[in-house]
Symmetry: C2
Subunit: 417 residues, 2 copies
């Protein structure tokens, strides 16, 4: 069987299973999630042994320590996967909710019902825990799933797939509701992202280059998460203590995350006041500063170039720009932001109102750290990614982002006049 035939087969299975999983009750889906958790718990030794094969092959292949780290499946890691499944089982089922059901002048009632998207393809790197993460969210939202993990994790993923199958079976759901691609042939990805008759959405999870490659070639909608070039703007009306806390937190709470601040914009009226304090704070954390000429007139910093404004450092580096006013800050954001998350620090009511209305990013904040842009912090319970797109889902994508709404019409013999 060719890779194409193999993938088409998975697609057909998924499409068929999607009808059954869409019609499954929340109880049945939760039973499946908990049965998968049990299966993981019962096959710990096998999972760790299979993962060992991947780790050995990875070391022989010369993977770096960060990659080996993400690839490794420990007993603690299995505990986390189990916890995750239990948490997702506890979330409310988004499917079937009917909203805005109203009588129309014709006498029909019209409303919207939340429904699964159908078949979701997940493409990710060699991190076996993502297999469970992604599968659980897609399953809970009533979608069939095809999971394609990095080839270095193939033994681990096959072992995890067995647990998923066993859990689905125990709950009386089709095993094909969640399918793991069990070939390492790269052509499988190309097929997955172009078989629009069987796949409704692709969610890539991984680095920017992976996501760009997939977006370029996909014939299926991609819920993508590219850069997070996030900004904090400290206004002249800011409470400078709040500004200090937020600017330090947004940059230094964690560095390698998409909601970390990469560029700090400061109103010229308060720059001389707050910059020295901030420089000291960042210095203590070991953050390298790169600044515009006005910044460098106040504190020691490297020269920030145009490239800096357009860079997601994901590292202890911060670019700083002094701006004339909020409009200049919003212009800078419009030009350089990746439309992920931006925050204004101000006590001024009118400016806050304008900033959150006019800044076109997936999260806009007043007096809060950009680090809050996160599915858990937003109360979604879990997230499958953070969309920097404008279509379908923006920002943290939880269970609801994996669904859509269809129209329901209730009549009683009504015909159109």
């Amino acid at each position: 069987m060719s890779v194409q035939e193999y993938m088409q087969n998975l697609g057909k299975n998924a499409r068929a299973a999607s009808r059954q999983i869409a019609a499954a009750t929340a109880g049945t889906k939760n039973n499946a999630l908990l049965a998968i958790a049990d299966a993981l718990n019962e096959t710990r030794d096998f999972l760790i042994a299979e993962n060992g094969k991947d780790l050995q092959a990875g070391r022989e292949k010369g993977l770096d320590e960060a990659m080996i780290d993400r690839l490794a499946l420990t007993s603690q890691g299995i505990d986390k996967m189990i916890e995750g499944l239990i948490q997702v089982a506890a979330l409310p089922d988004p499917c079937g909710a009917i909203t805005d059901l109203n009588y129309m002048p014709s006498g029909i009632q019209v409303g919207k019902m939340r429904v699964p998207l159908g078949v979701i393809g997940i493409i990710y790197e060699s991190r076996p825990n993502v297999t469970i993460d992604a599968a659980s969210l897609c399953l809970k939202s009533g979608n069939a799933t095809i999971l394609r993990g990095g080839s270095e994790a193939i033994h681990s993923n096959r072992a995890v797939a067995q647990c998923i199958k066993s859990g689905l079976q125990k709950a009386g759901l089709p095993e094909t509701a969640v399918q793991v691609v069990e070939t390492t042939d790269r052509a499988a990805v190309g097929e997955l992202i172009t078989m629009a008759e069987y796949v409704d959405v692709i969610v890539p999870r991984g680095g920017k280059s992976l996501i760009e490659r997939i977006s370029k070639d996909a014939k299926v909608t991609v819920i993508k998460h590219l850069d997070g070039i996030c900004h904090v703007y400290i206004d002249d009306q800011a409470d400078l203590d709040k500004a200090y806390d937020i600017a330090i937190n947004a940059k230094t709470h964690r560095y390698g995350v998409c909601n970390a601040m990469e560029t700090l914009l400061i109103n010229q009226a308060v720059a001389a006041d707050i910059l020295p304090r901030l420089a000291k704070g960042y210095g203590e954390k070991g953050v390298e500063l790169r600044g515009c000429p006005q910044t460098r007139a106040i504190i020691a910093a490297e020269v920030a170039t145009d490239e800096d404004w357009a860079t997601e450092y994901l590292a202890p580096i911060l670019s700083i720009k002094v701006v004339a006013d909020m409009d200049a800050a919003m212009d800078h954001i419009a030009q350089y932001s990746s439309a992920h998350s931006e925050s204004i620090v101000t006590q001024d009511y009118s400016k806050g109102r304008r900033f959150i209305t006019e800044v076109d990013s997936s999260s806009v904040m007043i007096n809060a750290s950009t680090r809050f842009a996160d599915g858990f912090e937003y109360g979604l319970g879990a997230e499958i990614g953070i969309s920097t797109d404008k279509i379908h889902a923006r920002g943290p994508v939880g269970l609801e982002g994996l669904t859509s709404q269809k129209w329901v019409v209730l009549g009683d013999g009504h015909i159109r006049q």
Copy 2:
């Protein structure tokens, strides 16, 4: 200037204008809509004269009467465009609405704000009225628009574009908030659907071949509306009088529309009872019937082939299939429907409940004619199209379908722990 440069230029203008139009108040947008209406009213003679050039060229080119009909702009047609503008001005502004603003455990407030998509490209056939239709909805929803109408309407569209520009100017909005592509070069379409840096969504309005061609090549999300292969299923528990009315209305109210029924499914228990009545009714309307063997054992009908089940006739032709039960009907729908609109006629509570939950179409109905699947009937005030896609918008797409939601976070110095 090459076509590519020309289009890139429109794109840059639109992107720049999109920030201003997004920030415009409902009042300003309504003023623009009403000023465009005034401009149309004041330049009737010019519009009709310019349209005359298109009509003459069209006749010389040998366009058929239906195309000439759609191309023609009469004084009555201008009245309708003006009415449409006034109606859209009267609709509530979807933008800026904040919903679900709740306190989170961390103390931040998190909610969603409805915002424009940005820049919308509309591609349509040679129907000058669509220029105003589409422009008004995009403008009201706060989006910048690039309109590319069929080349046969170029003089008409240029004349309409002047009215739009004058209206925007009077309201103090940038003229580039609505731009009409003023070249007939076909390469303009190819450029429009691939310049993802400047265009956020493409809405094609026209025949299936146009939409398929655009979807195939687009690098921008397409809100598309393909076939409407709509079904009515008459259950064995149906009220047969209601069933008769709905089946006749769904097929014969209008033939050339996407929400007309193309296939009638009838439960075998009631087929002998209702089919002869229906055959008489359809006969009086001149509808050609094509049936499965069981249908043809009861009434006179041509043979329905597999191709019939998959065909959108858009004509006085109906395919009829007798099915064993509701599950068989839902299987048929899952296999052949274009996921537009389906209706069950039944008095049985449980079956109605299952049908609207399990059938995966953009509109699912109980005891109502599929002809109701329409933005006006659903209370949207207007529609830019009917999406048969699952992503972003399903079914009739009104102003809300041209928007998205961003997250707003209100803190008071909150940092992530």
